[in-house]
Symmetry: C2
Subunit: 127 residues, 2 copies
DNA sequence: CCTTGACATTGAGTACACTCCAGAATTTAG
DNA sequence: CTAAATTCTGGAGTGTACTCAATGTCAAGG
């Protein structure tokens, strides 16, 4: 099944402008019909979902682009793509540790504020 | 102890331009000396460290600004500041869940690619 | 057949968080 | 005392990821 950019936009929930921007960046390059209109496929739906996911993991467009280039080159690039995924996984694991550190930091700060509040109340009490 | 912007910049490892930008945004507003030069204090060092931490947790400047405004208003605003910290902690907890989801997603994709590789090798084997 | 709507391209504009630059004043080192 | 360094302000420029506007082409519905 083929979709024009408008319909595809509604399916994947990305604006037509963004889709054209992604194309300019080489993330997704649909075929064109006889009058030069973009023809997206169901395959493209899956691909966009993957892109959306990579984006959510915080991967910048230029890295997704690298992945896209490899993908458009075919199956011989699977190991290169695997490496990119491993790298990203590695980053996310690091993010996870950092994130826990940030939560701990906030917890400490919150604790400090609670103690400040308690001491203010203690002063009021003693009046 | 007081520091000029250059020295302070070296202490907190933030460029003088960024410090002036932070001041314009109201994050940190140092006193000025008799010839209008910024005078940062040790207290400011601690405050900047806190800002850096909040930034690392992904808090946008305008939210840090809210926090800074409350802080400059004094101790009466501790509960408001506590709320901001709780909100941010809440976001980070949500990020944590999302992050795990992303890692799982990558793991699945990596798994898929490994299987593709295995099947390619199986084909080569059978030749 | 003609209007409406979807699509095309190019280029400009936006938000965020810096980053850099020009021109002036003041401070410090030699 | 002079030259170099530091700081000041205002404003322009950068990169990322869109987002919007202007202008033009094509196709299907009434």
């Amino acid at each position: 099944m083929n979709y024009g950019i408008g319909k595809f936009s509604r399916i994947v929930n990305i604006s037509v402008d963004t889709l054209r921007y992604y194309e300019k960046e080489g993330l997704i390059v649909p075929k064109r019909d006889n009058v030069n209109r973009r023809q997206y496929t169901d395959h493209d739906v899956k691909w966009i979902d993957f892109i959306k996911r990579l984006k959510k993991t915080g991967m910048p467009i230029k890295d997704i682009k690298k992945y896209a280039k490899l993908r458009y080159r075919g199956n011989e690039t699977i190991n290169d793509r695997l490496k990119l995924l491993y790298d990203q996984r590695h980053r996310l694991k690091a993010d996870q540790v950092e994130l826990q550190g940030h939560i701990n930091f906030l917890d400490e700060k919150i604790q400090t504020y609670h103690e400040m509040n308690a001491s203010v109340e203690a002063k009021l009490e003693s009046k």
